[in-house]
Amino acid sequence: MIHARKLSRTFTRKRGKERVEAVRGLDLDVEAGTLLAFLGPNGAGKSTTLRMLTTLLPPTSGSATVAGGDIAGDPSAVRRRIGYVSQKNAASDHHRVRDELVAQGKAYGMTRARAKERADELLDRLELRELADRTPTTLSGGQRRRVDIALGLVHAPELLFLDEPSTGLDPHSRAEVWEFILRLREESGMTLFLTTHYLEEADTMAERVVIVDRGRTIADGTADELKAELAGDRIDLGLRDTSDAARANGVAARFASAPADPSPTPSGTADPTVRIPVPNADSALPEVLAAMEGAGVKVATARGVRPTLDDVFLALTGRSLTEEEPTE
């Protein structure tokens, strides 16, 4: 569905004095039917990549085929087959919701009658029927988002790009938007390409996570693969007696997939914690506990810790994904 090769985009600012390489030689292949989350800190090149793949911005170099069309050579073919829900509100403030949907249908070559029919289908589908004759200024954030998604779906695209679809929404609206996205996908088998900075969304919803940083892909796989390969599980043991710490570390070293971290006592608690990196916390926990018992270590608390995608990013770059970078 998407094949990008060495896709690059450089912006020149301040009359050519300053060159910003937003995207540097990005390669990407996306199979039809995938739900892919495109993840990265602010300024990583997510939006720029999305704008190139959606033909809004020509690449400085490199090429990409999207939904069978070349983004530079045949942008119209790409535009006919893809949908794009941007971060901003797609419906204009002074236009009624239904009018915008009809206009959008006509923009894709539908007759007026067909565009009206399709608008009504989508109004029902996204539960917007009662809001059809209102202007977006009178809608809530979640309702506007649904209008945006409806506008992106008018021509039933094979591939839908969503830029931060749930940003700025309250938890209830976020859940609602996700429900629609997932239902849509189930019904139509559409390929979904979305950016998000909610890590848990990428984690739970996406089948494939692509992490970008400084204009390049730095990781690509399922959330579980990335976590297992790049961050890994961990077992945290709270010891009853500080004097057991040395023995506990000896046992931990036998299980650890990486050097164990006998971290000093966290402030405020009296007892030390032993952190053991393991390939699979769930299966290692009983064995570790049995071994500790055998060595006479009294364990007060035991916890298997799964890594987050933020841990993956941290492992790759030494920075946290949630740190804001003041670029762009």
Partner: protein
């Protein structure tokens, strides 16, 4: 059951000739743009307030200073007001575009397969349709006050304004696109450009009264020539040389506007 049919893809689009799809795109954009005005026609009246005030409170003064010579002050002033409306209308067109650029509506249309030039023309045509309604109203109101109607001249004059308006509108769009995302450039330039263009065109008062340097500056202002051509046409003349100059000026503005406007749209907007 309806939910199921909704997931079916829309009917395939029949292949059309480039010209047919171009005019369809123009119509789509035009219809979308004009719908809010049709739904709320009162807004149109508000934008007309200024020219109407000029017509009633300023126009009568011109008779006193003897402007317009033999044609009567209305024959001179009404075309001027229409040119003024054409200056302000497209400025608003750019403003509307800027708002949609800063929001997401423009981007949404730019990812659609619609022709870029058609998008510009559709938008300016909407401004022209509004102008047309306003022009008819103004002419109708001026007739009882002594404005003499030359239907053919009026038609030709409106056509001239249409060409000029499309060009100005495109330039205004170009400016709006260059101004994104802050928009400051747009506000600055429109404030700095539109007023001098109007003052230096003799729209409100004849330039003949001004000093030589002012008249010279007015001569390089395309709006002057368009206003002169309009005045000739509004007295029923089709042979006055000012008409050719006016037509040339309008065509030049349209050519420059459309060329650069479309180029800017192709290059990518915003960020």
């Amino acid at each position: 059951m309806t939910v199921r049919t909704a997931s079916l893809p829309p009917a395939p689009v029949p292949a059309r000739s480039p010209a047919a799809s171009f005019s369809r795109d123009v119509a789509t954009v035009f219809t979308r743009e004009i719908t809010p005005s049709v739904r709320d026609p009162l807004g149109l009246l508000f934008t007309m307030a200024q020219p109407l005030l000029l017509l009633f409170f300023f126009g009568p003064l011109l008779g006193g200073v003897g402007a317009g010579g033999g044609g009567g002050s209305w024959q001179w002033f009404v075309p001027g007001v229409l040119v003024m409306l054409t200056l302000f209308g497209p400025m608003m067109a750019g403003y509307n575009l800027l708002v949609e650029l800063l929001g997401g509506a423009m981007e949404r249309m730019l990812v659609s397969p619609m022709n870029r030039t058609a998008m510009l023309i559709g938008r300016t045509l909407k401004e022209f349709a509004v102008l047309l309604v306003q022009a008819v109203l103004i002419v109708l109101l001026a007739v009882p006050m002594g404005f003499e109607l030359y239907p053919l001249g009026l038609l030709a004059g409106l056509l001239l304004l249409a060409v000029f308006g499309v060009g100005l509108g495109s330039l205004s769009f170009l400016l709006a696109m260059k101004s994104a995302p802050s928009g400051e450039l747009f506000y600055g330039v429109t404030q700095l450009a539109v007023f001098p263009l109007m003052l230096l065109s003799g729209v409100l008062l004849p330039m003949d009264f001004g000093p030589q340097w002012l008249q010279t500056v007015a001569m390089v202002n395309p709006v002057t020539h368009i206003a002169d051509a309009m005045r000739a046409l509004f007295t029923g003349s089709f042979t006055d040389p000012s008409i050719a100059w006016g037509a040339l000026s309008a065509a030049a503005v349209a050519a420059v506007g459309l060329t650069f406007g479309t180029r800017a749209m192709r290059k990518g907007v915003g960020v």
